[in-house]
């Protein structure tokens, strides 16, 4: 199972935190900090896996990858394949690229809800749902269209609300 997904920048500022089992906010922040410390200490061109037993219990490990200024981190346990997780991360980033055209950190910063929407199409409750960035992008487009149409139909003042 995938335990969580974290995106943070190279300063350690979190841009996306999603855990699939409840973690109190303080714990989340603490995990982000400790993971950032580990990632910082790692040189370039080394393996992308880190054992995270000390952070999240036995058999939990994480895979990370840097894309420009962002660290993408997937936390998972032994029922996931390490290399498949790297591929999934690639799917996530590809989808972001499709949805934002040349995605950069600012996109991630200003599209908090959309990023979550994209992630939810890929992973549900810690299980991989979709592995084609094409499909995910289509689904996200469909949702965005739906929201736009609905919004134009519903007046925004309370009195008018049915």
């Amino acid at each position: 199972m995938i335990r969580g997904v974290i995106v943070m920048n190279d300063q350690g500022n979190p841009r996306l935190i999603k855990f699939y089992e409840f973690q109190p906010p303080e714990k989340q922040q603490e995990l982000v900090r400790s993971i950032y410390r580990i990632l910082c200490s790692r040189a370039e061109n080394v393996s992308n896996f880190v054992k995270a037993d000390s952070l999240l219990g036995p058999n939990v490990r994480l895979v990370y990858k840097t894309f420009s200024t962002l660290y993408f981190v997937f936390i998972f346990d032994k029922s996931e394949n390490e290399l498949a997780m790297m591929d999934l991360m690639q799917v996530f980033v590809e989808t972001l690229n499709k949805c934002f055209r040349e995605v950069c950190e600012l996109h991630v910063v200003f599209n908090f809800y959309k990023i979550h929407m994209i992630l939810d199409e890929i992973i549900l409750g810690g299980q991989v749902l979709e592995t084609s960035s094409e499909e995910v992008a289509n689904a996200v487009d469909a949702i965005s269209r739906l929201e736009k149409n609905a919004n134009s139909m519903i007046p925004s003042f309370s009195g008018w609300h049915r």
Binding site: N45, E82, L146, S156, S158
Partner: protein, 916 residues
């Protein structure tokens, strides 16, 4: 309370505005800014306008998720907004709930039940998806119970995405509410035969998670999984199926036979590394008895290790580590690559390689491996260096030094390790030094040689990490001084000025060792003199005397005095022993005023001894006769007495030794000693500082120092400088040239300084050469010395060998779980761990029981006793005819349980049909 005004709504800050201003806040003022923003949100959130409310919630959730702000107070507003007709508002509300609700404590979750049910049955697929993903995030037992029927419906939804998400959600619902299994399991299984890849992937993923806990329950589904394994060509699905089989195969050996071929086929033909790696892992973990498959897998691992990609290398090493548990040859075959990985730039890879290298250590190769490792340690960063040292110590020390044959080499090697610049493993090294000295009698002479080198090196005293080792070295030097070639030199080393750098406890060991050395020298001297004096000749051990003679001559040589004739030995020995005594007196005299109790105590001991023997020495030097002889005799007897008490061999003691001591009659161990309080109450324990009061000096001793100070200090300093010079000349190895007593070095030194330069490739060649003959035991030049150990389980696993311990470590836990289940499973639910089984209300739930025959009809390939499909009665029977039919066979709980038992018994014959 009044909500926000229209103006507030119109000029509300959007989430984008919030993020922008948050980014512009100067560092340090962020908390204040966030607090202000929260205040704003508190006002806005009360708005009845869903748009305003939604914006407010967005900001709130953003702050919660990325800045860790507590927003539990707003939980109700999320519930409120979730009923909005606009999908975007609903999404905001649900996402906020998913990110911030704690399923265990947030009580408003129950208020979401109705809305979730509504959305789960919405015609809009996106609403349904949203509800499903929210449900899986915030699922608690109540929610799971109430929404199980809706989930059940969705499991056969015609919309693929919805069905997929419903299957994924099932996992959480099962976890929270095990009874849902009865309702949903059959539908879930049916989806295994779905042609849609997305759905198949979801179901297989779900089973992969479920088998994690109790694989035995899913054995009956093996045929379905097997079909997927054969037919499916999707990497994601195959990986998950392999993971399921990895858990099932150990339970049913016949399954393994069937699986092996398809898996090898996939491994040969498929290109995806992830899939190949999964195949390798499956074979190495679960199918390790199929030799050809293992061979193929190890071949693939080798390919991984040869790749440039550090990830593949890392995973390859991990796979090897799995293989090593059952098949050490797999590691041996790839030894070259493993050793190469030790110098990889990636610390992950280095650690894995190190672990593997330690796996292959045996008595035949321990020397080479240690030599290579120590040269790596010298090149590595401090952290990894200590990892290496730690691993070496652990492996070599395991099971009473099981892999060590040549203890002379090993103690030399321990000395080398202590000298590695970043070494922080001093404690462990010290423990092993002392442990070996007590357990392995044959190693003692070499040990004394090694510890001497440690003790006489003044440079080591400055390194606090070395102190533990030095304490051990000093103890060994003192304890086994009779094996030393030159006690005088040891004495100088123990008393050298730089010992002031040591911590008091270590220093105390030094002083006490000096005491033992002095005692030994005195004793030998007296015995030597005993020949021509009144010393009882019967006590003289001729062997020892000759030893001492040699020693004395050695000392003469090292002191550079041109005297070698044995005729002068007597006189000279006397002179030098006096020098020794004076050396001790000068160095320890000041310590008698130390404010460290241990140091003070020990040095007083030595000074007391000196006070006793000095007059005797001086007297015989002056050749004074008469009443002097009497004193001498008395002193010599005392010396002998103390020496005897010190010279008894210390040995290791079994931890159980105390238990075997019979409790003497009349001794009540459990007597309450509180009464003593009354008696001793007024006797106050002296404070520790009270010991620091300067003890009265021994007037005689100090006066002696005064009068002889000048001439005595000279030889002392002279010898130190000689020592230093000698030290420089012989660098690391302090072996006297042409010393016949040196142990023949027919093995390479543990770490030759040259090794730093030698090419690693050379090491490799040697190591791989060696690997060819690892199977055989090379002719040991010396028999392994006896290692004292106790049979009564000093440590729990005295007899276990290496492979056994590993098997216990890794597979033992797994086996235990499985065997344990077998004992407990039959009566209770076999699909779920028996946690939180709820006795449900029979009046609201009809128990729909699936009969055994029903199962086979349903085409599930054999008995699946997941039966007992529980259905809400009010949920239409038309929806599921099958369930209705089964309602007829309603039976009481007891009987159904009984059936389950039977079903379990029937399980065994079912699989063979498929397998054979």
């Amino acid at each position: 309370m009044k909500g926000p005004s229209l103006m507030d709504s119109l000029f509300q800050r959007s989430i984008d505005d919030l993020i922008k201003s948050l980014r512009l806040t100067p560092p340090g003022t962020e908390p204040a800014f966030i607090a202000k923003a929260i205040e704003e949100v508190r006002r806005e959130i009360k708005s009845s306008d869903p748009h305003t409310k939604s914006s407010a919630l967005q900001k709130l959730t953003y702050l919660h998720s990325l800045h860790g702000i507590d927003i539990s107070w707003a939980a109700f507003h999320f519930v409120e907004l979730s009923s909005s007709a606009a999908h975007s508002h609903k999404r905001t509300a649900y996402l906020s709930a998913a990110l911030s609700f704690n399923p265990a404590t947030t009580d408003v979750i129950l208020l979401l039940t109705h809305q979730l049910r509504k959305d789960l049955s919405s015609p809009n697929a996106h609403d349904v998806s949203l509800a499903l993903s929210t449900l899986s995030s915030i699922c608690n037992p109540d929610l799971a119970r109430d929404l199980t029927p809706d989930l059940f419906t969705l499991l056969s939804s015609s919309k693929v995405t919805v069905r997929r998400k419903a299957i994924a959600t099932v996992l959480r619902v099962f976890e929270q509410y095990p009874d849902a299994v009865r309702v949903c399991f059959k539908r879930v299984v049916e989806n295994l035969e779905n042609s849609d890849l997305g759905i198949l992937s979801a179901v297989v993923g779900l089973f992969c998670e479920l088998t994690e806990n109790e694989p035995r329950s899913y054995l009956p589904l093996a045929p379905e999984f097997y079909k997927v394994l054969l037919d499916c060509k999707n990497n994601w699905v195959l990986i998950k199926v392999l993971k399921i089989f990895a858990k099932l195969a150990p339970l049913e050996p016949r399954l393994g036979k069937r699986m092996v071929e398809p898996i090898c086929e996939i491994m040969r033909t498929m290109g995806a590394k992830s899939l190949v790696f999964e195949c390798v892992r499956t074979i190495l973990t679960s199918l390790s008895e199929h030799d050809s498959a293992v061979k193929l897998a190890v071949g693939k691992v080798r390919e991984f290790l040869l790749e440039d990609d550090p990830n593949l290398k890392y995973l390859g090493l991990q796979a090897l580590a799995i293989a090593a548990q059952k098949n050490i040859l797999a590691v041996v075959e790839n030894k070259d690559l493993v050793v190469k990985a030790l110098s990889d730039s990636d610390v992950n890879i280095r650690l894995e390689a190190l672990r593997l290298v330690m796996c292959i250590v045996s008595e035949d190769n321990v020397m080479e491996i240690c030599r290579i490792l120590i040269s790596h340690a010298l090149k590595s960063d401090p952290e990894f260096c200590n990892e290496i040292l730690g691993f070496i110590l652990l492996t070599c020390g395991r099971n009473y030094y099981q892999v060590i044959f040549d203890f002379d080499w090993y103690v030399l090697f321990l000395g080398e390790m202590a000298r590695v610049p970043h070494c922080q493993k001093g404690d462990e090294i010290a423990t092993q030094l002392i442990d070996i000295s007590m357990r392995v009698k044959d190693a003692r002479s070499q040990l004394v040689h090694v510890t001497r080198e440690l003790v006489i090196d003044p440079a080591l005293l400055g390194n606090p990490f070395m102190h533990a080792v030095l304490a051990a070295a000093a103890w060994v030097s003192g304890e086994y001084i009779k094996l030393s070639r030159n006690p005088f030199e040891i004495m100088e080393a123990l008393l050298q000025p730089r010992t002031s750098l040591l911590s008091p406890s270590v220093r105390a060991v030094y002083i006490h060792s000096a005491f033992k050395v002095l005692m030994f020298c005195m004793h030998s001297y007296l015995r030597l003199n005993g020949d021509n004096s009144s010393f009882p000749s019967a006590l003289i051990d001729s062997e020892l005397v000759s030893d001492v003679e040699v020693d004395d001559q050695n000392m003469i040589v090292t002191n550079g005095r041109p005297l070698s004739a044995s005729s002068v030995t007597d006189h000279l020995a006397q002179e030098s022993i006096l020098a020794l005594v004076n050396l001790a007196e000068i160095n320890l005299g000041p310590l008698a005023g130390s404010n460290e109790v241990e140091v003070l105590e020990r040095s007083t001991n030595v000074l007391g001894l000196i006070k006793l023997i000095k007059p005797m020495l001086l007297g015989s030097l002056d050749n004074g006769e008469g009443d002097q002889t009497k004193g001498e005799l008395k002193a010599s007897e005392t010396v002998k007495l103390i020496f005897d008490s010190c010279s008894e061999d210390l040995g290791p003691i079994s931890v159980n030794a105390q238990e075997r001591v019979l409790i003497p009659n009349g001794l009540v161990l459990k007597e309450n000693l509180d009464d003593l309080e009354e008696i001793c109450g007024d006797v106050k324990l002296p404070l520790l500082t009270s010991f620091s009061l300067v003890r009265p000096q021994f007037p005689e001793a100090s006066s002696n120092v005064d009068c002889q100070g000048k001439e005595e200090s000279e030889p002392a300093s002279e010898s130190t400088s000689l020592l230093a010079e000698h030290w420089k000349r012989h660098s690391l190895y302090y072996l006297a040239p042409g010393n016949t007593m040196a142990t023949s070095n027919d093995y390479p030194p543990a770490h030759d300084p040259k090794d730093k330069v030698t090419d690693e490739a050379e090491d490799l060649v040697k190591l791989t050469e060696k690997s060819i003959i690892t199977g055989k035991t090379p002719s040991q030049t010396k028999p392994r010395p006896v290692v004292v150990k106790f049979d009564d389980g000093e440590v729990t696993n005295v007899a276990t060998n290496r492979t056994e311990t590993k098997a216990v470590l890794i597979s033992g836990a797994v086996n235990k779980v499985i065997l344990g289940d077998e004992a407990t499973a039959p009566s209770s639910s076999r699909r779920k761990p028996p946690k939180s089984r709820r006795v449900t209300d029979e009046s609201s739930f009809g128990i729909a029981k699936i009969d055994q025959s029903e199962h086979s009809k349903a085409g599930l390939g054999g008995s699946k006793h997941h039966g007992h499909g529980k259905e809400r009665r009010r949920r239409s029977s038309a929806k599921d005819k099958e369930h209705d039919r089964k309602d007829k066979q309603k039976s009481d709980k007891h009987r159904s349980r009984h059936r389950a038992d039977k079903a379990l018994e029937a399980q065994a014959p079912v699989i063979p049909d498929f397998l054979l």
